[in-house]
Every structure is written in structure tokens, then in C-alpha cells.
Amino acid sequence: MTVRVRTLDELLTPPAAGSSALSTQEYFVNMGPQHPIAHGSLRLVLRLDGETVKEVIPVPGFVHRGIEKMCEKLNPRQIIHLTDRLDYLSAVMNNWGVAKAVEKAANIETNGRIETIRTLMSELQRIQSHMLWWGVLGMDLGAYTAFLYAFRDREIISELFEETIGARLTMNYVRPGGVMFDILPDFQEKVKKLLKYLGPIIDEYDTLLSGNVILQERLRNVGVLDGKKAVALGCTGPVLRASGVPLDLRKLTPYGRYGDVEFNVAVGSKGDCWDRYYTRMEEIRQSMRIIEQLIDSIPEGPVNVLRASARISIPEGTYYDQIETARGVLGVMLVSDGKSPSPYRVHFRSPNFNNLWAVTALAPGWRIADIITIQSSLDLVIPDIDR
């Protein structure tokens, strides 16, 4: 039996300087939790030799809120509120993930209108989330203008959400058995206007950043992650697809209305930062295609098949269900003992938690500046890592 529990301090003993006068001493630097690159509170301990990164030790946990523990005391409807706080940029998709798991466990049938609205909202949010990522990537690489362009256009989608849902970030919209509110009468018209506006805007993004020679130099051949390695490291979402593995749950096990619409799964070939960049840019376009196909065919029907006060009882058992969020596969495991209204155990397989691990494999050998690029191309949302 060789269980050896270590501490972080053990890892952080600086190695002695080499014997030769020319050899340099390695040193440790904390990137985060308070650092302009840390888009939340993520601490990366870098072991550096000059500018070259030797090792990355991620130290998450600064925003650990014990959501899984809290869920053990809440009923399925209340759990939805907490899922907004996981990956706050895919709030609707997280809601849907839990709602779908609960519906499968409790055998709740929804109708076409609910599924269409859920699909539409998810795709709108995927666009919004990728836009934010695009802007932040620009900012991380020093092109601050991209950030504000992205926020300008993201605002339109945020306003659309605000009108329908009443919230812009933590939406709490999809609930077991339906959605919270019906869409407004002018929703379809506004979405169509948005699509018309977004087409040229995405092309503008390409002219501002994608075609820039400096950006391409910074992204191409940096942080190459081949398909096999990506699978072994548990990456999902655009990160995995950029490595050439076309794993998209929307295609593989279609849920919602994804089975009825035509869209392509954006796949990269090489798995470098540029592929991850372009995969996401393409996903924005594909999401627009999905919305275009669905926006005119929203069936009639109630937006919630359950009464607001209906008790949702999950029969005894272990249920696992997953959904494709903007960052990858969100798995929801519900364990119920069949007695109490709250689940016995809830576990979220969060995409960012697993994607973060790829940093440790990708970063060694690159420069400090490439850590920024790699981390940005993985598109991490820190509260989703910590939960």
C-alpha cells in the first residue's frame, strides 16, 4: 500500500542553482488568484526557467461553495438556482442539464414548445458565451478593442434574455417540466433582427482579429493537443472538437430539437490554439443556423407541463444525464433514496473542471505569454471548476 498524501508546500521547494556559472535557477511564480489573466479566482503556480514554463500546478478552490453539498438539502426545483452559479456563461444550458436529468428520472414528458424554447435560448446563449470568449481572448493577447466589440454585441443578446427572463446572467429559466416564462410576442421578430445583424458582425470579428498576422503567430502551433491526448485528458466541448474528435452531444444523442435541425459540428484538425479559436468562431455560425431553422417553427402549447406547486418525486435510483454546454459536456448525476424530496447526492461533471487539467499537459515548454494564450483558448470559467 503506497498512499502518500502530499501538500502544496512540498511541491514548492525551489530547486538549487546548477553548478555551472551559466546555469540558471528555476523559480516559482503565482499566476493568480489576483492577476489580470485570472478571469475568476484561479491560482496557477508556474515553475519557470527564465521565461520558459517548466511546470504548471493549478490550485483551484478559491470560489468553492459546496454546491453539491447544498443540493443534498434542496428539492429539484431549488437546485436549478444553484446551477446558474456553475458556469455562469451557460446558465440556461446548466438549468436544462439538471431539468433534463430530473425529467428522465421522474419520467416527465415535455412538449414541443418547451423543447423549442429551450433549444433557442441555449443556442442564443452559446453565441453569447463564445462572443465573450472571443473578446476576452483578444484582451488577453493585448487587443483590448476586441473585448469591447464583443461586449457591444453581447449586450443585444443580454437584453433579449432580460426581456424574456428578467435576468441577464443567472437566469434560472429552465425548470423541470418546462420553462419559467413564455416568450414575448415580439421575440421571434427580435431574434430575426439579431441574426440579420450578427452575420456581418461575425465577419467583422474575422477582419479585426482572425486575419491579424500577430494573432495568427500567437495562436498557430501553440499548445498542440492531439485527439488521443485530448480524450485521455478528459477534454470536452470545443477543446476536444478542435483536436479532431467530433464529440458533440447535440449530434450524438440529440435532445431538445437538435434532432430536427441541420447543423455541422465544427471540428479542427491539429488541436492547436488556432483550431480552438476557429472551432468556436464556426460554432457561432452553426448556432445561428440552428436558430434560423427553429425560430419560425415554435409549436403552440403550454410552457410548463407541471403545476408550479407540483411535487417532483424522483424514484429511488442513480441517474446520469448529460448536456452539451458552451464549454463541453455537463454531466448531472442524481442519486435518490426515494424517501426525501431532495436527492441523496448530486454530482456535476463540469466541463471546465476537466478542461483545466489540460493546462498541465499543454503548458510545459512554452513561454509565460503562451500560458495566457493556452488558458484563454481553453475558455475556462472558474466557478464551474470549483463548484
Binding site: 502530499r6 478528459g234 442513480t318 454531466g331 447526492r345 476537466n354 499537459a361
Partner: protein
Amino acid sequence: MDAQALLQAITGVNPAAQERPNTNVPAVQVPVAGLHAFLQVLRDDPRFSFDFLLDHTAIDWMADGKFELVYQLFSTLHGHTLMVGVLIEREQPLAPTVSDLWPIAEWQEREVYDLFGIPYDDHPDLRRLFLEDDWTGYPLRKDYQDKNMLQRPQ
């Protein structure tokens, strides 16, 4: 391979594997002895080729005095999934590591160690993940107590 055929093939490989009831995904229950070898077969056998460890976590069955380790496997080749459940003792728990089969397991097992206190045999870097190194107790255990925890009104 559909769920039924998959389960049958697995029982053929490991006679100790039992189908797990009350789930919505193909699921088996296996004993902890020989777990590593069993998972290796699942990964390497071309019929299964579960090359993707989607998720690994644990459940605290306090009343039974057991922890249950849950592995969610996925095959990018065949597109099928499998849930593997393993019961281990709650007192003095010890589990074999699968981080040599799936590198991501190193990360996921650290989370389970951090929150459940299940040490993994031969784990390359067993450290607290979210909590401080000097934190006492394992929060996701059902009997975890903390002076800052509030009692929920019943």
C-alpha cells in the same frame, strides 16, 4: 452495441459484474477486488474501447457503512456509455487508482479524496484539491460537521 448486448458482454468478461438497477444508463456493479484489471479490459477490449473517463465520483452510503465509487465511461469509437459502481468499506477506505488508464482520473480522484477522504493506492500526486492542505474533515461525507454550517429549518 445496444445497452442489453453491452451488459451481456461485460458479464461475460467479469462474471462478478451485476447489472445495477434503477438507472437510466447501462450500469454495472462490480466488487473492488480486480477493479483495475476490469477497467483495463473495458478500455482495451475493442468491443468496448471505453477510452474516455467522463466522470468519477463517490456516494456516501452512510447507513450501510459503504462508499460507492462511480465511474462514467464513454467510448468515442462506439459512442456508448457505461456507469460502473464499486462499493468499498466506509471505515478505512482505500481504492485503486485508475490514473494510469485515464490521465484525467488523477484529477478526478483528487477531488474525491478532497471531498470524501478516500485515499487512492499508488496515486501519483494525492493532494487536497479545493480545500486547504490543513483542512480537517471531508465535506461531502454525510456526517461532516462544521461550526459554520447552519441548520436548515425542517
